[in-house]
Symmetry: D2
C-alpha cells in the first residue's frame, strides 16, 4: 500500500441477527444499509481514525446524500457476512463508498451497494473535510 | 375530563410493518418498545403538549429507567393494533406509563407493558419536571 | 390514467418515530426504506388488494432486487411525512415503484427513491405475477 | 458449576451502531432487547448448539413471554459492550435468561435485564424442550 493511500479497503464481519430477519425468512432489505454503516465505521478505523472522533472533536459529519443496494441472494439468520468496503470517490466536500456483501461460508456474493456523503458540520450545513482526514481518504 | 387530570389515557393506532416481523412470522419482541414510544408521544399530544417541544424548548427529557413487556399472543404483519396508554405514576422527578396492546380486529389482548422514566436535562442529568407539564401528568 | 389502471398512485402518511432518529438529530438513512415498504403496502390497498393476502393466499412475494434513496433534506422526530408512491415499471416477472417523500407541514421534498422487485414464490424462486394482480399493476 | 451443566454463562461483545443511537445522543432503549437476543444466540453456541438448528431442525422455538430491562447509564455510539448472559430458570416448557450489560472500556454496569421464553413449535403452540437440549440448559 502506498503512503499516499492508506487503507482504502477494509472488510467487516457481521453476523445476521434474528431481529434483522422478516417473515420471508431472510434479512429485511433495509438492514443492508445499517450493515454498510457498520462497515464504513470499521473502514474509518482501518484508515487510521475513529468516525466518532471525526464527528465529536472535529465537527465533520458524513451525511448520506444517496444510497443504493442491489440484492443478488438473500442473507439469512446467523449467516456470517463479509462486507468489503472501499472509497469510490473523495473530494473536499463529498466522499463515496462502495460495498460488496458476501456470505463467508460459501463466498457467495449476496449484495453490492454504494453510499455517497456530503461533509457537513453539526448544523448539517456543507463544509470541507478537515485537513487531517484528507490523506485518510486518499486526497 | 376533569381539570385536575387532563387526558390521563389515550389509545394509539399502529399498523404492524413488514420490517417489524421476524422469521417466526410474527412481530419481533423488541418492536413493542418502539410502539410504546409511539403511543407515549401520542399520549403527550392528547394531554395537551408535544413531547418534541418538551425536549427542545423546555430541556426536559423522559429518559427510560426501566421497561417491561409481557407477550400473550403474537402480532402479525399488517395487523392494526390499539395501544392504550396511561400514566401509572407521576412524581416531580419521574413518571411511569402503562400500556395494553390489543388487536383491533378481534379486541384480543396481545401484550401489556410498563416504562418508567427519569426527568433529565439535555445533559442526561436528573432534574424536576417543568412547572407547566405537572398538571399534564396529574401532578 | 386509463380505466384499465386503477390507483397507480397513492400517498401514505408517516410520522417520524423517536426510534428512527440518530445522534445527528435526524432520521437515520436506512429508515427511509422501511417507509417505502409502508407506503408500498398502502399502495397495494389503494390498488384494491392486500399485500398480506398476495403473499399468504397466492404465494406471490415482491422480493427486493434493488433499492435507492436520494436524500435532499433531513426528516426529524415527529415530522409528518407524505410518501407519494407510484408504479414505474410492471412486467409479468418484476415490478418497480417510485417514491417522493415530503414534509407535510411545508411540502418540502425531503427524498426520492425507487425499489424494484422480482415476483417470487414462498421458496424465493422467480415466478410470474398471478393473473388477478396484473390489472392492479396496469398490466 | 457441575459437570452436568456446561457453559451456563457466556459474555457477548457488541459494538453500538450509529443506527442504534437516537437524538438524545445515546442508544435507543429498545435496542437493548436486540442485544439480549444476540447475546442469547451466542450463549447457545457456548452451550454447544446453534439456536438456528434448534428452530430449523428440531422445531423448537424460544418464544418470548416477558422481557425487562433496567437502564443505569447510557450506551453511546461505538461503545464496546460486554453482555454477560446466564440461564436463570429452566423447565421442560420454559427457560429464562438474565443479562448484564457493561461498557468494556470502563467496566461500568449500564443495564441489567431478563427474558423468559416458552418452548413452542413452528405453529407457535407450546411444546416441551427436545431431549437433546435439556442438558444444555442444565435440566
Amino acid at each position: 500500500m502506498s503512503t499516499a493511500t492508506p487503507a482504502l479497503e477494509n472488510t467487516a464481519r457481521i453476523r445476521v441477527r434474528y431481529a434483522e430477519t422478516d417473515q420471508m425468512g431472510v434479512a429485511y432489505y433495509g438492514n443492508y444499509f445499517t450493515w454498510f454503516e457498520v462497515a464504513r465505521v470499521e473502514w474509518c478505523k482501518a484508515a487510521g481514525f475513529n468516525y466518532r472522533d471525526m464527528e465529536r472533536e472535529d465537527g465533520a459529519l458524513l451525511v448520506v446524500a444517496e444510497a443504493t443496494c442491489r440484492y443478488r441472494a438473500p442473507a439469512r439468520f446467523d449467516d456470517e457476512l463479509a462486507v468489503r468496503t472501499f472509497v469510490t470517490k473523495a473530494r473536499s466536500r463529498m466522499v463515496a463508498f462502495g460495498y460488496e456483501v458476501r456470505k463467508v461460508e460459501t463466498d457467495e456474493l449476496l449484495a453490492t451497494g454504494e453510499t455517497s456523503h456530503l461533509i457537513c458540520g453539526p448544523d448539517m450545513k456543507p463544509r470541507t473535510l478537515p485537513e487531517k482526514y484528507r490523506v485518510r481518504f486518499g486526497l
